[in-house]
């Protein structure tokens, strides 16, 4: 019998707040789980927001090959297959608790539980955790893939009373991780590891507007419950008032951020601390710092060696081929990722550069960037013009990405060559290659048109 798969995405969860020295939350369950499986310390997301990232994750492809760029262009390319589809073809049953927005892009399968969609702000603590446990206790058709996308860490964050004490973390974000940990523990009690593969990861990271300075903690986090109420009211704005709403919102943002900026002037802060406090993922000038693209990845299963901590860089696009490899399903789909099983087993494994993209904004044109990350360097630049907004960081000596060393032209050139090779390969494929699946779809269409 094939293994079941329990796959949980903790939206916006950062790698450094899930495991490691800079974590201030209390996570006894996560700590135990890490000891039970393989934890990847340097997993790099393909993008800084949900739709691009999960599309890459579940197609195993770089974002520019999937057809998804933003909510407006919301369909997966016809010739791109998915992790879920391969599971379906191999007899898997799908269950999920998944925010409605991610169901619109043609990525998700048909889930067998009717309550699979939920509103964006339905946290584990709001009842999602109990629903998951209830579902796990019920008789699910095997083999199953149970997919959870939890938004507890997506701003605005609502921390429950139980975890509001400062001992649970330096920020609301970290307190919420403590809360999530308690649910992870309860959920895990209902997982039979003998026949289930258990995966925790995230789609992307986020800024946490709370930093520790010599004078204490400086925290610009917004109260989550109030923010959610404003957001709910805002969603009901008639479409003709949207431009006005955007204008007012931008103005308000500007005033608030200016006030925050003034507060930071009095304190000596490193560039990365300023970013955490003052920047947002939705800013017009996009960037690809580790805060937003370095995510946790934990895989636990009966074939996974316990207490395996892997520090080598891996990519979000590697998850798809890795999981298929573990459950013994042959992957016949063209993916950019590679199976991490040899790495888990301690074999020699080539580290490949991670390609990343920023996500376009919906209402206005953002200054987008694309980039490459290796264990040594981070490089990103303007999406349309390789001579603009160039960023280069030496990750070995400057892991906080404080000092832009883009004057090192030879390294910039090397990183640029990696991007060019990836794009060239794609252009050549675009022009000349048609996958079997696409060819079948084209020929079916031509037949319909009477051109067989």
């Amino acid at each position: 019998m094939k293994q079941n798969i329990f796959f949980i995405i903790l939206d916006s969860c950062r790698s450094d707040k899930f495991y490691g020295k800079s974590k201030t939350s209390i996570t006894p369950n996560i700590d135990q789980l890490i000891k039970k499986g393989a934890y990847f310390e340097q997993t790099i997301s393909s993008a800084d927001s949900t739709l691009l990232a999960i599309t890459s994750l579940f197609t195993g492809k770089h974002p520019f090959k999937t057809g998804i760029r933003s909510e407006r262009f919301n369909k997966l390319k016809n010739d791109v297959s998915t992790f879920f589809k391969i599971l379906t073809d191999n007899g898997y049953h799908h269950y999920a608790y998944n925010p409605t927005v991610t169901k619109t892009i043609g990525l998700m399968p048909d889930f067998e539980n009717e309550d699979s969609d939920y509103d964006y702000h339905f946290d584990l603590n709001d009842g999602l955790g109990e629903k998951i446990i209830e579902k796990l206790k019920s008789k699910l058709n095997e083999p199953w893939c149970f997919y959870i996308h939890a938004n507890d860490l997506h701003f605005p964050i609502k921390v429950s009373e139980k975890f509001s004490d400062n001992k649970f973390g330096d920020s609301n974000f970290e307190k919420q991780i403590s809360a999530i940990d308690s649910w992870i523990g309860k959920i895990f009690e209902n997982i039979n590891l003998k026949n289930t593969l258990f995966i925790i990861t995230s789609d992307h990271g986020t800024y946490i507007p709370s930093v520790t300075t010599e004078n204490g903690i400086l925290n610009f986090e917004i109260e989550g419950k109030k923010q959610q109420l404003v957001s709910k009211i805002s969603k009901k704005t008639p479409s003709f008032l949207q431009p006005l709403k955007t204008k007012i919102f931008m103005k308000k943002e500007k005033i608030e951020r200016e006030s925050m900026r003034k507060k930071t002037l009095k304190i000596e802060l490193k560039p990365h601390q300023k970013r955490e406090l003052l920047w947002q993922r939705s800013d017009l000038d996009k960037v690809l710092f580790d805060s937003n693209v370095k995510v946790p990845l934990l895989i636990i299963g009966n074939q996974i060696k316990e207490n395996t901590i892997i520090s080598q860089q891996v990519r979000q696009i590697d998850i798809f081929p890795t999981l298929l490899d573990i459950i013994g399903v042959k992957n016949e789909v063209d993916v950019d990722g590679q199976s991490l099983v040899p790495l888990i087993n301690g074999e020699d494994f080539e580290e490949l550069p991670a390609y990343m993209e920023s996500t376009p904004l919906i209402q206005m044109k953002a200054n987008e960037v694309i980039g490459i990350r290796t264990s040594q360097f981070k490089y990103f630049r303007d999406r349309d013009d390789k001579t603009k907004r160039i960023h280069l960081y030496d990750l070995k000596n400057d892991f906080n990405e404080d000092y832009n060393i883009s004057e090192k032209k030879d390294i910039v050139k090397k990183m640029e060559n990696i991007i060019e090779e990836l794009y060239k390969e794609n252009i050549e494929k675009e022009n000349t290659e048609f996958s079997e699946e696409e060819t079948r779809a084209i020929e079916e269409e031509l037949k319909k048109l009477g051109y067989d």
């Binding site: 998804i68 407006r72 084209i442 051109y451």
Partner: protein, 376 residues
């Protein structure tokens, strides 16, 4: 309130047979007819996507039959732009792959063999008016009768190299005209229906063809898509509306890429995109008395069948102006040059006469073929 826009595609309609339908001839009197509109790609999927993206195939991603699913993600189609600007958008197509569903509130297809469009399309118009509520409407109706008969009476009966088809050119043309008369009745019905509906006022109706249809003029062209001769690349656009000049007909050379900027101007929508086409609205409104010929226009194709099939990339290209045409067949590496004024049927290839203009055309055409797409 922005104007309603109704595009009615008469799939495969030839510009030179329009007068074979009395009904359509009557419609022509009600608007402005452009009967020398060069289609960039003489088959439906390619042509429609050029019209609705305002971009050639290389730029929009669909320059071959096999690239039908590859409309670039960065492209904003006309329906998407209109939807963003408050329009209710709907289409009823031959198949749902003719144009992607991006930007459509209703994106549907009919069964060309079973559905009666004389009934279906008026009902669809009603449905759209109802669902649009107070929004302006963008409708795209696909009349597929010529396609249906071409498939069932020609493609299913003759192989591309069956000489009996090419030997019966006159009979084929006669059959074609009969089908076009049916199409003419359809156009009159739709026009009448719209005139009696809520769309009567503040609406522009655009009857157009995506490509012509060969009836056996040259060996290898059973229908369309094999070459870039006039019978397949010359199409027409008939505009009818309150502000559109009536009973005007022009044979000045235009291109299907001109439609996008024209419609955007008509709807007073400004997009920050440098479209290659030219806005012809001033002519349609009678502000410019004369329509100018375009200096050059381009077409390309890659056939599914015929002597040089190339479904994965274009392999036949041409450049033309109002007087001459240069055609390049990449697969046999052959050039053809025609004097369209003296030889409108393109029967005499005068490439070997080495006219000075041939070189000029050649450079322009090769530059166009080898251009880098500015859109990723």
């Amino acid at each position: 309130m922005k104007p309603n826009i109704v595009f009615i595609l008469l799939d495969g309609a030839r510009w030179d047979r329009l007068n074979k339908s009395q009904e359509f001839s009557e419609l022509i009197k009600e608007g402005t007819l452009l009967d020398n509109v060069n289609t960039a790609i003489p088959y439906t999927i390619g042509s429609v996507n050029v019209t609705f993206s305002g971009l050639y195939g290389k730029e929009n991603g669909i320059d071959a039959y096999y690239k039908m699913f590859r409309l670039k993600k960065s492209i904003k189609n006309l329906p998407e732009i209109l939807q963003e600007n408050g329009y209710f958008t709907a289409c009823d197509l031959l198949t749902d792959k003719i144009i992607v569903d991006r930007g459509f509130d209703i994106h549907q297809a009919h069964n060309e063999y079973k559905d009666n469009l004389l009934v279906r399309h008026p009902e669809f118009i009603d449905e759209c008016i109802k669902k649009a509520e107070d929004k302006p409407v963008f409708l795209f109706l696909h009349s597929t009768r010529i396609h249906t008969v071409t498939v069932s009476e020609i493609l299913k009966k003759y192989q591309w190299d069956d000489k009996t088809f090419y030997e019966n050119k006159e009979k084929n043309l006669e059959n074609y005209d009969k089908v076009f008369q049916e199409v003419g009745q359809y156009t009159a019905k739709i026009k009448e229906y719209i005139d009696n509906s809520k769309l009567k006022n503040n609406t522009i109706l655009i009857f157009f063809s995506d490509h012509g249809t060969g009836v056996g003029e040259r060996f290898g062209e059973r229908n369309y898509g094999s070459f870039t001769y006039e019978e397949t690349i010359r199409s027409f656009y008939l505009f009818i509306g309150e502000k559109i000049k009536k009973n005007i007909q022009t044979s000045n050379l235009r291109e299907t890429i001109d439609i996008m900027p024209t419609i955007l101007d008509f709807c007073e929508i400004s997009e920050n995109i440098d479209y290659p086409g030219e806005n012809i609205l001033p002519f349609l409104f009678g502000q410019n008395k004369k329509m100018e010929d375009k200096d050059f226009v381009f077409s390309e194709t890659g056939a599914l069948h015929g002597p040089y099939p190339s479904p994965k990339e274009p392999n036949v290209f041409c450049i033309k102006n109002s007087k001459y045409k240069l055609m390049y067949l990449k697969t046999p590496d052959e050039w053809k040059f025609f004097d369209l004024e003296k030889d409108p049927d393109e029967l005499s290839n005068i490439y070997d006469e080495k006219l000075k203009i041939i070189e000029e055309f050649k450079i322009k055409l090769l530059n166009w073929i080898n251009r880098e797409s500015s859109i990723s």
